[in-house]
Symmetry: C2
Subunit: 446 residues, 2 copies
Amino acid sequence: MPEHFVIVGGDAAGMSAASRLARSMPRARITVFEREDVVSYAACGMPYHLDARIPNPKTLLIRTPADFAAAGVDVRIGHEVVDVDAVAAKLTVHAAGTRRIEMYDKLLFATGAHANVGSFSTDGVRNVFTFRKYVDMMVLASYLKYARPTDVTVVGGGYIGIEIAEVLTRRGAAVTLVEAAPSLMPGCLDTDVADLVSQELRHHGVTLRLGQPVTQIDVVRRRARRVQTASDAWPCDAVVIGVGVRPATELAVAAGVIIDDKGAIVTDETLRTNIAGLWAAGDCTTTIDLVTGRRTWVPLGPAANKQGRVAADNMSGRSTRFAGVVGTALVKAFELEIGRTGLTGQAAAEAGFDVAVTQITAGDRAPYYPGGNPTVVRLVADRATSRLLGGQVLGRSGAAGRINVIATALHARMGIEQFAGIDLGYAPPFAPVWDPLLVAVNQLMR
Amino acid sequence: MPEHFVIVGGDAAGMSAASRLARSMPRARITVFEREDVVSYAACGMPYHLDARIPNPKTLLIRTPADFAAAGVDVRIGHEVVDVDAVAAKLTVHAAGTRRIEMYDKLLFATGAHANVGSFSTDGVRNVFTFRKYVDMMVLASYLKYARPTDVTVVGGGYIGIEIAEVLTRRGAAVTLVEAAPSLMPGCLDTDVADLVSQELRHHGVTLRLGQPVTQIDVVRRRARRVQTASDAWPCDAVVIGVGVRPATELAVAAGVIIDDKGAIVTDETLRTNIAGLWAAGDCTTTIDLVTGRRTWVPLGPAANKQGRVAADNMSGRSTRFAGVVGTALVKAFELEIGRTGLTGQAAAEAGFDVAVTQITAGDRAPYYPGGNPTVVRLVADRATSRLLGGQVLGRSGAAGRINVIATALHARMGIEQFAGIDLGYAPPFAPVWDPLLVAVNQLMR
């Protein structure tokens, strides 16, 4: 009998693993169980279907179950794994009202994360939405098309909240964005940088309510009509909740897998859990923060894809490692590009570093060359060791891609003197002779 | 008497050093001797004055002698240093027919490089131009305006040749670009990548003649009329020669300073020459190639600026180092952006590495997001150690900025496994979930 690899969850991590296994283990049996109706969808692209930048939602379905079948992967959509028995190496699957037992040799949890909804009940309410799964996008897109809400409140000022605020504004809705913390993207950006993001959103007509936790959503006849904070209340005809996610690890926990304090699965660098035969990858798992060296949980797509491959390699007997992340992320808010990596100044202080921070604004092209824009660079370093700890970059027209240079330096544990010596490319159409990154690090060194 | 710092040469390295000294040594006397009439001009921006992208050439003069005077730097334009006597610590300057002796305490050679003209005599010929100095740009711009040449031959397919070919084509001239080597940017790009640059130039109407050294420029009545190679000849009404530069080190050599086989000054990491009291920075000096560890000569602006600062720091008694370069460069050819860093495959083989090369083409955005373009990434690594040795990136709309990620990895001496694990930023408007850099390194690892 061929070895049976089972993957629970058919998104980024799961399908990356499945593809990798199909290539490396052509004679193995590979089964993916996905409780939803689609696999391998581009979750990060979903906001842009709402403003028709991506007109056809099917283009977000990168590969279909039939594509995977052709590659030798048996994808079972609409199949929910409800129990994993690691001692007997078997699992229980529900599908279309039936219940089946399957045996496995090696199993990967790629169960992702659930959207938080805070304390609000969304069940049965017709105009309160979350935005995590493909079906969430389809439901919201349909509502926008037919109900044409004009006053939309977005709860949560993280990546999703900002992107949703942009696309709904572009559709012509009046958007109110509420964030409980005093600034946008809390934990991701320092306040000084987040304030520039706020400016961009306000400039494009988004009403921001920062530092105001939503206390209640008033529902009348199964429709949200009003949003309340402790000090204020305003009407709405739709609410989108984007207040983060939590690891979907109920199944793994029931199987005896160890999780951390956030509920995410603990693995080693080979993505192995504490239980033989069980691996984990993607948004349901922890990883190492390469800046602090501590275990962390950063549910983002690129790591999920990489982890899927690494888990597959190790499941197939080839030893590879997923070293960790530095927490790089990019987001676009209207014309403003925002990149962040490593520790914010605040996070670095909380982690016990003796923090040095600098923030500069510099042109992203030679000053005499047309089309340049100001770029903001914030760098965070450790005073004791001079090591770079993190960075934030804001700009336009591709300027935020510079965050990847900082990310690479963090992987290399570079000190600021070495960073200041990096031989960055220069030509007037691309950068000034002192790239904004170098302007920033030179100021940090002073 | 205050300490007297003398800087010979008022471009990137010299004026960076002067500015730095003025800040760190406010009580010192700082004199810059520049034999031309301008200082501190943006040489890399000059091509774009020719097609009026930079309409006012004065905007290329970043700072004037008066600006420097206000900062405490005595800039003497039109002053040519003709002798440096390191034993007596004095120098001889010619200016406006007079001859003066000046004493110095510490002297910096920032004498830059001369444009090569090959074996062609350009003296007294009215329509053959080089393009190195500000005055070269003014002369060529004036000629273009009044003589309106329609058939221009550009000799040399390096950075300058490509940029000049672009701007003259945009002005409406029929441009022939001749390069002695079989492909463009020899030594900078591997042939497979250079061929894509050729395609872009041809697509925009540039006639390329590759692998054809120019043997003769026929001059009739002080005007070039025809360009000849061994096998061919064609008419022209102007010729621009961009066949590289050579270090301007005659003065340093006469003073006893050691140069390398290319004629560039040898210094240590503090930019000190072999003679006490004499420093060197910028295009006249060698530096360390951080990939090979060998001494090299890479005359480019960013290093010149950095070296100017480091030399100034050390001249003022503060110990800093210029570690070296990885040879990063960016150039734009019409809509195509070209980035390169480190060793080409060919250079790596010549340096004795056991070379592994991969080249991929991948989208620079998520495939479903509008506006993406294919990006080409070529990576060069050492099979024996798995260390990354170099890279080349071609693309559009900011894609080539990715070269800086490779450059940073080269500074960190990263292996390809670590490079494959870099946590690069992802969001559909910026990049696909597998950035082209990661697609390339994943293929290289296979």
